[in-house]
Amino acid sequence: MDINNIISPELLDAFIKFGINLLIIILKIVIVLAIGLLHVAYATYFERKVIGHMQVRLGPMRVGWHGLLQPFADGLKLFFKEDLVPANADKVVFYIAPIIFMAASMVNLSVIPFSYSFTIADFKISPVIADINIGLLFIFAMAGIGVYGIFIAGWASNSKYAFLGGIRSAAQVISYEIAMGLSLVGVMIMAGSLNLTDIVRAQEESVFGMFAIPQIVGFVIFTIAAVAETNRTPFDMPEAESELVAGYFTEYSGFRFALFFLGEYIAMIIMASMATICFLGGWTIPWYIKVVPFIKYVPGIVWFLMKVYAFFFFFYWIRATLPRYRYDQVMGIGWKILIPVALANILVTGLVKIIITTLNGV
């Protein structure tokens, strides 16, 4: 029996196309997850090496050449550690808290575009899992869900340190999310879109090549808020080691702790990628740098990663240099400085935009 008798050739064609598209999406997910997790592993290594050299020591040196296998050794160790649950903990919530946190930060990887789209055998492949129009909003929403993970982890542990850490974290992340959202409104106004790919495209077409130059105020606010959002020094209140032992994950051990750890580093990657995409021009290079011969042959993903890692280095640099703020000071900076300045920035950006469009219209 001929197959063509059952299904029409058009339908079969559509079917095969759908199958291939599905395969491409699955492939993309696998690649992004694998590479994303590898980056997390080596972000810890990079951090330890960078801070080590800043602090007149060497960092990991034992496992593999210059400690290159250290992240795997750590992961393996955490995997085989005993999974302790405090006797009075709310068990179900205690179990799901790290999963919520981890999932909420990992999902963000799906909307981050990494490079130019390219074509293989008639299939247009854009290097992003989900090219949605509300990419920025999606990331904010997921960051909001991640707070639940932190907060219920602190609550379910039934420990006072974890509880205090959870409360601090919830308060801090929520207040800095506002500042961060407001700092990005300027970018949205300039790009006219919430789609991350469109934002990058808008920067490539703009005179400045990247929004960090016209939106310098927004960029500074975003950077500060990103540090606070990822709970890193000098805003590492929720896990202030010297005060709250380890903050909201004090009672977690073994792989549940590793999930929090991974989630935090993924959040760092997301924040660095956001900064790269929204302010530094993503995988594109400004026209004034393109003037340099041969530089345009460097693939977009290399530019992207370079910018992301530069941002990472900045995170580490801050951590090695600055002392920690106090809780009330952190909230004060967020509410009294960052949010008003971000609002003023929106006002100015909007006014300039109106003026430019009116002038163009005339």
């Binding site: 801070i51 800043m54 602090q55 007149v56 020591r57 006072k160 340190y161 205090l164 020094t233 000098p234 590492d236 202030a240 080691e241 010297s242 005060e243 709250l244 032992v245 951590r319 090695a320 240099t321 600055l322 002392p323 920690r324 703020y325 106090r326 809780y327 009330d328 000071q329």
Partner: protein, 490 residues
């Protein structure tokens, strides 16, 4: 009615948090019970005693000269200063005068100890507030100082280098050269720490106006050392009641004005520079001469004089003369190797296979029956009995060594007798005023030894410093009073 019930249901209480004894920032095993309202401290109750080892009581069962190593274990961060404090107190009790060179060396190592203590304080204080890099920078220089300690006495932390009547041994020339190099470089290193925190806005926000205590209150609470001087009271025992060589050097006593955490930090940073200066002056003026007082009553006999009978490689055997032995059993009980056997009132015998040549029998025997046979190693008992002579007919060097050995035993076991009376002597250790109070009943051991430990008094000031501030400020307050729980609990 309804309101009352509502109040009952929605009654608010302070959260009660146990900080310590295991906590990353309590500098040991300090336990603080905090009552917090939100993040504000309502009440702080410090509990101490988790590291209590009974040093004061142990001191009563050891002779004045034996108790010295105990002081290492008090403030293990600056053991040298504690040693000096004890040694100065005991010297005063016995009326011993240490030679000039020993005094200079003691002052040098005391100031080195002050620097290494302040470095550790700065490292941990900064780490508590979150400045991680300062921690490792400080440890780099502290390591240098600890290596220098190792060079003069073989130990890095529990040094026991100063002795009653001087110091254990003279310092080598390399030590002085390396220390001089250190003092050359150290001021620039202090600047390096200060670039990271001194004018750092976050540091200032975390320390200025935190834990303020007025001069009057600080004096009333018994604060001493830099913790007191931060409030503007220029009280320094090195200046007001100089001991050792402090009257021969010039230095300033840095004081603060407002008495907050930042002032105390500044005081200690300036003290680092002063200590560096003191060491330089002392190295320049270091006089030649002996390093131990020449009073045989108070010092152990030199070990090399005892070599003829104590050196393990010497070819000799110990033997008990049958004729002289009354069978009292003294040597049998004293022998550490249990090599001596025998019935009561019958001559005892040494089992040569078990004997470890420690000469204990020689010292304990009151009837001059235990003797030593030069060249008697590995000989049979009959042969030894043939060769053995009474102790007073032995060669002169062996006889002298034996006498010294007896003296050493007396010295260690009983200790020289102290004059009767009471005595309080205080010295300025890095943490404040460390006082030793002795009650002597005229024997070789103190009737009562009491320590005034600055850490203990400073720990009691914590509630005063913390109440009204936030949780994060408790950490800053613990850091700023610079306590070590080994000294606090004693």
């Amino acid at each position: 009615m309804i309101q009352k019930e509502a109040e009952k249901i929605f009654e608010t209480r302070e959260l009660n948090v146990n900080m310590g004894p295991q906590h990353p920032a309590t500098h040991g095993v300090l336990r603080l019970v905090l009552d917090i309202d939100g993040e504000t401290i309502v009440k702080v109750t410090p509990y101490v005693g988790y590291l209590h080892r009974g040093i004061e009581k142990l001191g009563e069962s050891l002779s004045y000269f034996q108790a010295l190593p105990l002081t290492d274990r008090m403030d293990y961060v600056s053991a040298m200063s504690n040693n000096i404090g004890y040694v100065v107190a005991v010297e005063k009790l016995f009326g011993i005068e240490a030679p000039e060179r020993a005094k200079f060396i003691r002052t040098i190592v005391g100031e080195m100890s002050r620097i290494s203590n302040h470095l550790l304080w700065l490292a941990t204080h900064a780490l508590d507030i979150g400045a991680m890099t300062v921690f490792l920078y400080c440890f780099r220089e502290r390591e240098w100082l600890l290596d220098l300690f190792e060079m003069i006495c073989g130990a890095r932390l529990t040094v026991t280098y100063p002795r009653v009547g001087g110091v254990r041994n003279d310092v080598p020339q390399e030590f002085l050269e390396s220390l001089w190099k250190f003092t050359d470089e150290f001021p620039s290193r202090i600047l390096e720490y200060e670039t990271l925190i001194d004018q750092n806005r976050i540091w200032l926000q975390r320390t200025v106006g935190i834990g303020v205590i007025s001069a009057e209150e600080a004096v009333n609470m018994g604060m001493t050392g830099p913790t007191l001087r931060g409030s503007g009271v220029p009280y320094d025992i090195r200046k007001h009641k100089p001991y050792d060589a402090y009257d021969k050097v010039e230095f300033d006593v840095p004081i603060g004005t407002t008495g907050d955490t930042y002032d105390r930090y500044r005081c200690r940073m300036l003290e680092l520079r002063q200590s560096n200066n003191i060491i330089r002056q002392l190295i320049e003026k270091l006089p030649p001469g002996p390093v131990m007082a020449e009073d045989p009553k108070f010092i152990l006999p030199p070990k090399d004089k005892m070599i003829p009978i104590t050196h393990p490689t010497k070819d000799l055997a110990y033997f008990i003369l049958e004729k002289a032995c009354k069978g009292c059993g003294m040597c049998m009980r004293a022998c550490p190797a249990k090599a001596i056997t025998g019935e009561k009132k019958a001559p005892h015998k040494i089992n040569q296979a078990l004997c470890v040549n420690c000469a204990t029998c020689l010292v304990t025997c009151k009837f001059k029956s235990a003797t030593v046979v030069p060249g008697g190693k590995g000989l049979s008992d009959e042969k030894l009995a043939e060769l053995a002579v009474a102790p007073d007919q032995l060669p002169e060097d062996i006889k002298q060594a034996q006498q010294l050995l007896v003296r050493q035993f007396e010295f260690i076991k009983k200790g020289p007798k102290a004059p009767e009376g009471e005595l309080y002597v205080a010295t300025e250790v890095p943490k404040g005023e460390l006082g030793f109070y002795f009650v002597s009943d005229g024997t070789g051991k103190p009737f009562r030894m009491r320590l005034r430990a600055p850490s203990f008094i400073h720990a009691s000031c914590l509630p005063r410093l913390c109440v009204g501030h936030l949780v994060a400020d408790v950490i800053a307050a613990i850091g700023t009073i610079d306590i070590v729980l080994g000294e606090c609990d004693r």
